[in-house]
């Protein structure tokens, strides 16, 4: 067994990302007293969790050869549903809200999957359309930021103690679940299969449509979790809160080593990518630099990561992490 724990090339790439993450982190710590505070570090961690979670879902869709532009809108919708139903934890409406969120996310995922696979519409268009529809529904629920999430609920989700937080635990839980899915279930293998070559996978007996639909469902559900986290943090709902998450989740996955063509992807890499992006805003604030530079940095980070991946050889292998 020990022989099999070699550092495979994919793993090396993940180590590089984490190395980058660590380097930036450590330099910030050294450089700035403000950064060093546990409060601040804890903040950065907690704030990156929603992106990390939805990026993992996006990654799975990407590995399967698809793309999901609607996750951002799903996040917004979740926050609106939460804010409209969970204003009081004692009320039964709160429980209904929870069920609704789960049901809606599954339905959205299924519809995205059916539209793409059976409707012969490219994933980009299906999910773009879904994005518009979900944004519309969000606006219908909440024309502007508003509603309320009961302190009791938000408090539990946002609970923190120094560096640890419930949010991080949730991230860990999702990570473990998805990791199990990708590595220890047959559907997980099939996701990698359909992403690499749909027709060969089909000829080998994989049920390509079902697996593809499953990936969209996973993405929508992770979006729901992220939306719930954001609603808890803000204590209100916001119909536009998820707007940037669509493209950011793709960015995070790409930085983490996921190939847009499918068949390749690294769970831990994606998380690292999300944290890198999450750190940028905080860094700008601490450094006293115009926080708009974070967008420039985000873009540059993406290019650098891509160059790195293309230089370190073709990503033909199934990455595991």
């Amino acid at each position: 067994m020990i022989k099999q724990i070699q550092i495979s090339p994919p793993l090396k790439k993940v180590l590089v990302i984490y190395g980058l993450l660590a380097t930036i982190f450590v330099s910030m710590m050294v450089f700035s007293a403000d950064y060093r505070s546990i409060q601040n570090v804890g903040n950065v961690l907690v704030q990156s969790v929603p992106l990390a979670i939805v990026s993992m879902g996006q990654m799975i869709v990407l590995i399967g050869g698809g793309i999901d532009m609607s996750v951002g809108a799903m996040i917004s919708l979740t926050s609106c549903i939460a804010a409209r139903t969970m204003s009081s934890v004692a009320s039964p409406v709160a429980a209904i809200g929870a069920v609704l969120i789960i049901t809606v996310s599954v339905c959205v995922g299924v519809m995205n999957g059916i539209g793409t696979n059976y409707g012969r519409v490219p994933a980009m268009i299906t999910t773009l359309s879904m994005m518009m529809v979900l944004n519309g529904i969000s606006l219908a629920l909440l024309p502007g930021p508003g509603g309320r999430v009961d302190r009791a609920i938000a408090g539990v989700i946002m609970a923190r103690s120094g560096l640890l937080s419930v949010a991080l635990l949730i991230l860990l839980l999702v990570f473990i679940l998805l990791r199990h899915f990708l590595y220890h279930t047959r559907s997980g293998v099939h996701v990698y299969a359909i992403g690499k070559n749909r027709s060969i996978a089909a000829s080998m007996g994989v049920r390509i449509n079902r697996v593809s639909i499953l990936t969209f469902v996973i993405a929508a559900m992770t979006a729901a979790v992220s939306g719930m986290l954001l609603a808890s943090r803000m204590r209100i709902g916001d119909p536009t809160i998820g707007a940037s998450f669509g493209l950011d989740s793709i960015t995070a996955a790409a930085i983490g080593g996921t190939a847009l063509t499918g068949g390749v992807g690294l769970l831990s890499g994606t998380v690292a990518g999300a944290f890198l992006i999450g750190m940028l805003s905080n860094m700008m604030n601490i450094l006293g630099v115009n926080h708009f530079y974070q967008y420039v940095l985000k873009g540059l980070l993406l290019v650098v990561a891509m160059v790195f991946y293309s230089l370190s050889g073709k990503m033909g292998g199934k990455h595991r992490g």
Partner: protein, 510 residues
Amino acid sequence: MIKIAGKLLEMVNLTKRFPGVVALDRVCFECDSGGIYAIVGENGAGKSTLMNLLGGLLVPDEGIIKLDGIPVVITSPGKSFALGFGFVHQELNLLDNLTVWENVFLSHEIKGAIGKLDKSAMRSRILAMNDRLGYQLNPDALVGSLKLADRQLVEITRAVIFAPRILILDEPTAALSEEEVIRLFGILRSLRDEGASIIYISHRLEEVVALADHVTVLKDGRNAGELCKAEISKDVMINMMIGRTLDNIYPNRLDVRSQETILRVTDLIIPGKVNGVSLELHAGEILGLGGLEGQGQREFVRALFGDIPFSSGVVRVGENTYTEKSHGIPSRVRNGIGYVTHDRHGEGLILHQPIRKNMSMASLKRFKKNAGYLSVQKETEVVLQQVQRLSIKAASIENPVSSLSGGNQQKVMLGRWLMVDPRVLIIDEPTKGVDVGARTSLYQTIDVLTRQGVAVIILTSDMLELMGLSDRIIVFYEGRCTAEIVRADVTEERVMRAASGLSTSGEQTA
């Protein structure tokens, strides 16, 4: 000819039609357990189509398939698997980004409790198969990282591991060395002795002679003969396959005399692929590059063409010299070098585009007027000329090339390169997937071309074609030339020996 007793598999009067061609015409085939049944025939005779019917990729238009006497309908690969078929495809059907065990068990994964994958069970099954069949596959290796012969072993493992009743292999030895072929035959014989029924499709008649218990010959989509063990011989098979002597297919080139050197390659090196190859090509000559697949021939010609960079060496074509620094296909094309790829569908033709556009792709310059305007009128004229010259059967040059048969598609590619007026034409697999009628016509065209002074290099995995067409054969093995054989001296044995790295006089080459 066909017995009526309850055989394991019976295919009765199977007919399959495609637009413009009848691929199978009332073909019958049967096999029983404990035997190796070979199916032979030329390119386009219908062998692969027949097997695709068993694999669930195609459904017959007419005819019945029976297993143990009971009619079955095979509508999908899953159904084929469930009925007990195992497949090793000609073009390997594997996923490069997955590991060996993942590919072997794909869609039939072994699960443990609570639906979790039982990886150790799958790994040990593969290791057990390793032992049983005498090879060494690492279950955790990425298939993309394996060499071709090993990838084939993965496919064989996948086909065999679920104990199929009928194992079908389609051209399995194209890329295997003599040693690997012997190993494969050992595996097949032991499987047969354990009761499996094996269907073996191949071009390589000596292998069929060595291996088969029974041979079915197909020609032009019809049954052309059946042979039992004692009756099997190469001459009989060739006769049935072609129905005429070889002399009538390949052009008569006994009168070809060596002319001036048009292409000179000195010490070409591509790291890992080509280890210092030098050769000369003369005007009006057909030079055949032989050898097993993957020995560097393809990389060599692609480097000549400017597609692949080489690390050192010199290529001289007429007055032009190319070194490792001069890349670029455009200049090669300008200077009269053409390359017809082996992969028409993947990198040769644009299937949804019309014949006209496909043909003119390499010679757009000819039809340019001022300001880049492309004269479709002129283009049409020239394309029509080519179509006539090559006897391409198409209703209109505006039809997409996807509507053409394999042979006509090949002619379109040839026509494309003829339109650049080449001095040197490299043709990679000239008749792959081409029916007999078109092949003869293609050979004639190539012959005529050389009479006009064009030098042709052909790469082909078809031994008969290699020997029939080439004025000279250069055999590749592990990136080097192991033999140069002129037409008069060519024998199949010589070529095969050189292809396996043995010298043609009996000793191993360095």
